[in-house]
């Protein structure tokens, strides 16, 4: 019997589709929600039904607690899966879901409360005997003398922040006053809470996280680690498991710390404990996220455990079976995130319409996408287009598979980070697995002159296509597919 008969997914894009797929496999009827900007989105079409929850602005739709719960009640959903981002770590939402008599797929509201506050989480980890990044464990005063003790450079972070947002680097004592004002203002406007704290900026470091899965009967499975060290703006771009940087001893130490943190919170469902690992192999607790991570698929590939399925089953009260408790990691998995961002211009977001969309397939390839050809990108939302994951027997084979998969990938209409990713798979530090969180700044850099050979190849292709589209006596292309002379060539080929 399915754990629930109907489930509402309070999210959009690729993660909504990811949850819909597992619902199908479990025999659950998936219901989606959409803003006015997403009426025609993929996740809307893939669900059994979709409810409008408001205008495009997230605050008025995907973050509108009342609208989401009303949609669930209207459709007779028994449970709500929040995905990641949006309401996934909002205790007020979790409480409202329970008050409506529905099941929130995630931990109890009190847990979300204590871990959502990064400062409280730091104190919690410290109390559990887990090392934390050196810094403050209470909110910074206006004249924070303790910063001199921490040392420079340091990071000011929003206590209510997360996902790489609300962070500010401070290099010297005379920058403190201005940085503090700016960090507080940013934190207040982004999270509604201006509390900030300080952490020493550790570098070079790797970012490694441990995947946990708990049930409502006190069982806790540790499902390996993910190395998420390749980041821009403190946000992840590439994740892999196992981490190429650690040996079994360090791995066990990370797992032990993750268990300790989980042990002091009332926790069930899926969660991730994030650590920094320095060059001396010391690890430091960063934060604990009690939700599905964007990069959860990497763990699914190496362990064979469907994390979404178990989130749902655990929420319905099922215990974790031994097969999950003792799931072992097999082979190597790597995920790269395809973003509508221009890596040749500081990874700034690109806007527009996806004109061509050809994703790789074949052995060991998984693509979780939220868009397709002809999708208009919505500036209101996260620019993540798809996650491309590969799995192979070992890391070297996985890198070769990733290169092959990226070569099959064709995205038209907007610049994506695919250009960076294709460069990455040939980069020496990535191939050897010896990179750290500074890879993009140190090795990718800012200047990206076009290689002469690529220019010469682009010239061939452009001249060939112009020639092909003009060598015909047939009328000029109509406006149906405006901007493309190719439609005409297609027509002529079809007539041959």
């Amino acid at each position: 019997m399915p754990p629930f008969s109907r489930l509402l997914i309070a999210n959009r894009g690729e993660i909504a589709i990811r949850v819909i797929r597992t619902c199908r496999e479990l025999g659950i009827s998936p219901i989606s929600v959409h803003s006015d900007a997403d009426v025609d989105a993929l996740h809307v079409h893939m669900a059994d039904a979709s409810e409008r929850i408001g205008p495009p602005a997230p605050r008025e739709s995907y973050l509108a607690i009342d609208a989401v719960i009303a949609a669930a009640v209207r459709r007779g959903a028994e449970a709500i899966h929040p995905g990641y981002g949006f309401l996934s770590e909002n205790p007020e939402f979790a409480r409202a879901v329970e008050a409506a008599g529905l099941v929130f797929i995630g931990p109890p509201p009190t847990t979300l409360e204590s871990l959502g506050n990064k400062l409280a989480a730091r104190r919690l980890a410290q109390a559990a005997g887990v090392p934390i990044v050196p810094g403050t464990t209470v909110a910074l005063a206006d004249d924070p003398r303790e910063l001199a003790v921490i040392g420079f450079p340091l990071m000011l972070k929003a206590s209510a922040g997360g996902g790489g947002r609300g962070m500010r680097r401070v290099d010297s004592p005379d920058e403190v006053a201005d940085a503090l004002v700016a960090a507080r203002r940013e934190a207040l406007s982004a999270f509604g809470d201006g509390t900030v704290y300080a952490e020493r900026l550790l570098a070079p470091v790797r970012h490694i996280e441990v995947q946990l899965l708990g049930d409502r009967h006190g069982r806790l499975a540790v499902l390996g680690e993910r190395d998420c060290s390749i980041q821009r703006r403190h946000q992840k771009l590439v994740e892999e498991s196992p981490s190429p940087a650690i040996d079994p001893g360090i791995r066990e130490a990370l797992f032990d710390s993750a268990r300790r943190v989980a042990g002091v919170v009332d926790f069930h469902s899926a969660a991730t404990v994030e650590f920094l690992l320095d060059t001396a192999n010391n690890h430091y607790f960063l934060e604990m996220n009690t939700r599905l991570q964007v990069e959860h698929g990497v763990t699914e590939l190496v362990t064979g455990v469907d994390l979404v399925a178990w989130q749902i089953r655990v929420a319905a009260g099922q215990p974790l079976p031994d097969a999950v408790m003792h799931a072992s990691s097999r082979g190597h998995a790597i995920e790269v995130r395809l973003y509508a961002e221009d890596p040749y211009n500081d990874f700034r977001p690109s806007a527009g319409r996806i004109t061509a969309w050809q994703m790789p397939a074949g052995p060991g390839v998984r693509v979780d996408a939220g868009v397709a050809a002809d999708t208009d990108l919505q500036p209101e939302y996260d620019p993540l287009l798809a996650k491309l994951m590969v799995h192979a027997d070992d890391r070297s084979a996985a890198v070769d598979r990733l290169r092959r998969a990226l070569d099959e990938t064709v995205i038209g209409g907007v610049q994506t980070d695919a250009g960076f990713l294709r460069w990455l798979v040939d980069d020496a530090s990535f191939m050897t697995g010896s990179y750290d969180t500074g890879l993009i700044d140190d090795r990718w850099g800012i200047d990206h002159p076009l290689p002469d050979e690529h220019g010469a190849l682009a010239a061939i292709a452009a001249i060939a296509v112009r020639t092909a589209t003009e060598s015909s006596p047939i009328r000029p292309p109509d406006s149906k597919r405006a901007g493309s002379a190719w439609a005409e060539v297609a027509r002529r080929r079809a007539l041959r």
Binding site: A351, A464, V465, S484, W486
Partner: protein, 154 residues
Amino acid sequence: MSDLEARIDGESVTPAKGWRFEIIDPARGIGRLINGAASMPVLVEGKASDWVVTIRGRRIPVTVRSWREQVLAGAETATTARAGPAAVRATLPGLILTVAVSAGDPVDEGATLLTIEAMKMQNDVRAPRSGRVIEVSVQAGETVTTGTPLVRLE
């Protein structure tokens, strides 16, 4: 065909020798460049003289012109080079967060004129060249679409 010239960033580019181009999906612009044992997928979008070729994930704007078009384009450039005021337009839709300049301010090339929030990110809009601000057409809190004039520079 030999009449066509390709330019990237205004520079004439000699097409690579030994490669041929094969069309795979004309409706979407997908093709393949092949040279013996080497080949790579390529996306070609555009029309007339303006094309964008995507190679290894990078979008490369390529201008392809016949000899006649080159002559005409040369004449056009000569007349627009002296152009006066420059309009800075939004390159992506979003919310104006801050406006850093007002009419009359002198700005240096690269100076931040304003910030736009789009796709959850704050983006600085910078001055394309040095000059005096003639007009600021938007204010903080306003939502703009791609192409909206933001600031006019002398």
